[in-house]
């Protein structure tokens, strides 16, 4: 016996009503007026007599009628053998895509997602073809269609569940677009291969569907026809999630000590329940907070920028922590204090540092120390020995003729990839230049300059002059050259003339030697030769040169989880320590890059050099409110709403329809109603019979009055 609408059985609870009425009639507080209670004492009435039910038969009849009515409304029917056709028919092809991004680390989300995935896996039939993917920044194929099909039918779900159990939320961002494309492609490929008769193809996405998901990949993808997307949203226990994001600061201005050291953006989720947070520095071990945390009030769905002063002096603070948030996964921003890169420029000349008429004097003043880098000029007179560290310098400047031995050493550096600038201070330097380019016959002679020469033809396409390409900066005519050395550009095979004098003689040449680049300036920048050192173009030119030499590589210390971080190029093996203490060693000679997979401060030790860099969470991961499913529909995806389409519910609907049909055939409710009517009649008769004696007695009580009146 089953019921079509079992909720109506609750109507049987109405049986309580007649029982209650029978009892109430007994205990009704009938009020009797009496002249005076002065002779009466309060006496609680004896309950035993009142709680007894009278007219049990009447009560039973009434209750029976109610029960029968409730029973009839519940539409009972007798179960017949039903043919279950669910197992037959072609199977489905399903990709279960489980989100493992950092936002899934919120409390309860991953457990929910896993439970949903496992429910789907258990619900599969042997005819189904299922693949299980996880996605964050990349797509991981935990179980492919081939693995699924090759496993025994009974073991498939177990294998997939075991594979899923090994997965866990990572620290990566959500590249949902890429993942959906991968899943749809997997389904599409499978159709292309075989089994066109498969009943349905479906991607089941189990994700928190956060707003910060990257969907860009779907823009350029045509969602295959016949592939349905079922979204199973995994829900977080608590909605509040505030995130921290470091705001890039312009380094141009010199900062005063009292100024804000760093600025962070605190953004709160739209469905947040909390609004007050604290932001403060925290020690490297993450236990102690340093300094006083700053209160910040962020209404839901908004963000505030907080300027933090430097951490207390002497404290090893490497992160900014957000407090007062429900979800801790995105509450840390790691950052390293900016460290000036030390760049050395090797200067090979003969003049003393103090001679104000010589190139070295100007060179040393051309590189002021900035926050980003400290450029050190290593002036090595011909007599001094070259140190091993000197060879690390990316730029070598030669202004005087050198000994053969030293010239050979410089050439070796040049061929290894260094950049060398040779300034022809005198025509005699041409010999050294010849040694560097490997041409013994190279000569140069003093040019005859009428009054002064100017730079006339400048190749602004060249990287060195590219910063001056704008007409506002391209005027080099103010720089007068009094003297220069004439050099025949044809003497250098493969040389590029970057700038020429107005006389037509080359002023700056770039000669490729080995892996390195040799720049030849046919004049000098000292006042004796030209106004170059005193012009406003000198410093940009030198920095441009240093940049070309690779000395001013922009030092990025902020990375996002998943970024590939280049490590300092050395020949030794690199030992990288990750924030959680694990490490890995990259052998010498391998590509010195590391794929980051967790936020925190990474340390790479290679020989004597230590490189530290901070890796932070994708700021988009903090945008945890659920994205509307319509957004996916707008991108052309065939989204089937999850609430109606789960297989369990579909089966339930079908079963319900079958039951309704069965019930309509049997129509047991008619009999029940008929019985109820019979009992109502009986009840009426009985009640009428019971009421009769009462009427008789009341008539009797009235009779004396009637008799006398």
């Amino acid at each position: 016996m089953s019921f079509l609408t079992p909720l109506f059985l609750l109507g049987a609870l109405a049986v309580a009503a007649p029982i209650l009425f029978h009892l109430i009639r007994q205990t009704s507080k009938e009020e009797t007026k009496f002249s005076s209670l002065m002779f009466l004492l309060a006496s609680p009435p004896r309950v035993t007599r009142r709680s007894r039910l009278e007219h049990i038969l009447l009560l039973v009849l009434r209750s029976l009628v109610l029960c029968l009515l409730a029973f009839a409304f519940a539409r009972p029917f007798l179960n017949m053998a039903q043919t279950d056709d669910a197992a037959t028919g072609p199977g489905r092809r399903i990709v279960i895509l489980v989100d493992t991004s950092a936002s899934m680390r919120r409390e309860g989300v991953w457990a929910d997602a896993r439970a949903r995935a496992e429910a789907f896996l258990r619900d599969t039939t042997p005819a189904d073809h299922v693949a299980l993917f996880t996605c964050d920044r990349d797509v991981k194929r935990l179980v492919t269609f081939e693995q699924w099909d090759s496993a025994a039918a009974g073991q498939r779900a177990t294998i997939a569940i075991a594979a899923l159990a090994k997965a866990a939320p990572t620290w990566h961002g959500t590249h949902l677009g890429t993942a959906l494309v991968a899943a749809a492609s997997a389904l599409d490929e499978a159709r292309a291969e075989n089994q066109p008769q498969l009943r349905e193809r479906r991607v089941i996405l189990i994700s928190d569907l956060q707003e910060g998901s990257h969907l860009a990949a779907l823009q350029a993808y045509e969602w295959p026809k016949g592939v349905e997307l079922v979204v199973e949203p995994a829900r977080a226990k608590r909605p509040t999630n505030a995130g921290l994001q470091l705001i890039a600061d312009s380094d141009d201005n010199e900062k005063k000590p009292g100024d804000a050291f760093v600025r962070v953006r605190v953004s709160n989720s739209t469905d947040a329940k909390r609004e007050l947070f604290q932001v403060g520095w925290q020690s490297a071990d993450g236990k102690d907070s340093l300094g006083k945390p700053q209160d910040v009030y962020v209404p839901p769905g908004q963000s505030r920028v907080v300027a933090l002063t430097a951490p207390p002096v002497g404290a090893s603070a490497d992160r900014i922590t957000l407090r007062g948030d429900d979800e801790p996964f995105d509450n840390n921003v790691y950052l390293l204090p900016p460290e000036a890169a030390r760049v050395s420029v090797l200067y090979l000349g003969t003049e003393p540092e103090t001679d104000t008429a010589q190139p070295l004097y100007f060179l040393q003043r051309a590189f002021p120390a900035t926050r980003k880098q400290i450029v050190q000029i290593l002036a090595r007179p011909p007599v001094a020995q070259l140190l091993p560290s000197d060879t690390e310098a990316p730029l070598v400047i030669v202004t005087d003729a050198m000994s053969d031995e030293r010239a050979a050493a410089v050439r070796r550096l040049l061929t290894e990839g260094k950049t060398v600038l040779v300034s022809l201070k005198t025509a005699a330097v041409a010999r050294t230049l010849g040694q560097l380019v490997g041409s013994a016959t190279l000569t140069a002679d003093e040019a005859k300059v009428p009054s002064y020469a100017m730079l006339a033809e400048i190749d602004f396409q060249h990287p060195l002059f590219a910063p001056f390409a704008d007409p506002r900066f391209s005027d080099f005519t103010k720089i007068h050259f009094w003297k220069y050395r004439r050099l025949d550009a044809t003497q250098f095979p493969g040389a590029r003339v970057v700038a020429k004098f107005d006389t037509g003689d080359p002023a700056l040449l770039q000669v490729p030697v080995g892996k390195g680049a040799l720049y030849v300036l046919t004049s000098g920048w000292q006042p004796g030769d030209s106004q170059l050192a005193l012009s406003s173009k000198f410093l940009p030119l030198l920095f441009s040169l240093l940049e070309q030499a690779g000395g001013l590589r922009p030092q990025i210390t902020q990375h996002t989880v998943g970024d590939t971080v280049p490590l300092a190029a050395t020949n030794a093996a690199v030992r990288v320590t990750k924030p959680d203490g694990t490490g890995l060693t990259l052998g010498a000679g391998t590509a010195a890059v590391i794929q980051t997979d967790q936020p925190g401060i990474h340390t790479a030790v290679s020989g004597a050099t230590t490189q530290r860099f901070a890796v932070n969470l994708d700021p988009q991961e903090s945008k945890t409110p659920a994205m509307p499913i319509e957004e996916l529909e707008h991108l052309g995806l065939a989204v089937k709403r999850a609430d109606k389409t789960t297989t369990v519910q579909a089966a339930e609907t079908k079963r319900h329809l079958a039951n309704a049909e069965l019930e309509a055939r049997q129509k047991l409710w008619r009999w029940l109603i008929a019985f109820a009517l019979v009992f109502v009649t009986l009840e009426t008769l009985l009640a009428g019979w019971l009421a009769k004696p009462t009427v008789a007695t009341s008539a009797e009580t009235l009779s004396p009055a009637g008799r006398l009146s």
Binding site: S35, L41, P45, P704, L708
Partner: protein
């Protein structure tokens, strides 16, 4: 002088059932019905005094008081005649009818107040017929209506109207009205108190004593409903005190014994007090025919007058 025992009752010899009597709407008619059944002869004043109403002339005989000689007639006829008047009776009767809320109780289709008012009307009618001056005072916790004792045409009508006014009183406070009536009524007379006397005995005693002390003759009719006398309720119910508004949930069977005991004690105390003060006391249920009450009244009056005469002798 009439003999009440012989005169009471209708020709049929049956008494009137109070239930049937109360079905009569007019109070005056009710009173008349009762009295008519009782009435046989004229109860006249034994004294021929000198009053406003002239009755006859009589020849003077030596020994008559020369004050009553009609000198004008002597001047016309030269004979001595004595002028005789019909005197008003000496009796000044005040009916004190309790109209408090407790009197609004009644288990027989009429309330104690209705019975009390009918009784008062009956007495008034009877006494009026006798030519007595009748005053009326209805009261609850204070005096509601007061008519001084008079015997005038139309006075009875006023009296009936006053008795027919619906009772609006709250509590029974016999003390204040009795005290007040003692102050108002200076001339000595008969006070008939019709009440259920549901009040503490001590205060009652004090005020009745005050009344008797001023020389009034007091007659008390203690009315109680049959339901009050027997407490024959069968269902447990919330009992609502008509006077105080207090409510009590009671099982009558459980409390009946104690109630009857206490009521008996109260009644006994009242009775003792009355006899101690020389007050005529009658207690009866409202189901008792009214003629019997009238008969009681007259018998008490006779006993009282005998007693008075005896005590004067």
């Amino acid at each position: 002088m009439i003999s009440p025992t012989e005169q009471v009752g209708h020709v049929s010899g049956e008494l009137i059932d109070p239930h049937a009597l109360m079905a009569i709407r007019s109070l005056e008619l009710r009173a008349r019905v009762v009295v008519e059944g009782f009435w046989t002869g004229i109860h006249r004043s034994p004294y021929h005094g000198f009053s406003v109403e002239f009755t006859e002339y009589r020849a003077y005989t030596p020994g008559d008081d020369p004050r009553y000689l009609d000198w004008k007639l002597y001047a016309r006829s030269d004979r001595y005649f004595i002028k005789k008047f019909e005197d008003e009776t000496n009796l000044r009767c005040h009916l004190l009818a309790d109209n408090s809320r407790s009197m609004a109780f009644g288990s027989r289709g009429y309330t104690k107040a209705q019975y009390a008012n009918t009784l008062a009307a009956t007495l008034a009618y009877f006494l009026h017929q006798q030519g007595d001056a009748i005053g009326l005072m209805t009261f609850d916790e204070q005096i509601r209506e007061y008519l001084p004792a008079r015997h005038r045409p139309g006075h009875l009508r006023h009296l009936m109207l006053a008795l027919e006014k619906p009772a609006t009183g709250a509590a029974t406070d016999l003390v204040a009205p009795l005290k007040r009536v003692a102050e108002i009524v200076r001339k000595r007379g008969l006070m008939v108190l019709i009440s259920d006397l549901l009040a503490p005995v001590e205060a009652l005693e004090r005020n009745l004593a005050a009344l008797t002390a001023t020389g009034h003759e007091v007659q008390v009719f203690h009315l109680l409903d049959p339901a009050e006398l027997a407490f024959d309720f069968d269902k447990a119910a919330l009992f609502h005190d008509l006077e105080s508004g207090r409510k009590l949930y009671l099982d009558p069977e459980a409390v009946r014994h104690e109630y009857l005991r206490r009521l008996g004690a109260h009644n006994l105390a009242v009775e003792t007090t009355c006899s101690k003060l020389g007050i005529g006391y009658r207690r009866f249920g409202t189901d008792r025919p009214m003629e019997l009450a009238l008969f009681d009244f007259l018998r008490a009056r006779m006993a009282q007058s005998k007693f008075t005469l005896r005590s004067r002798n």
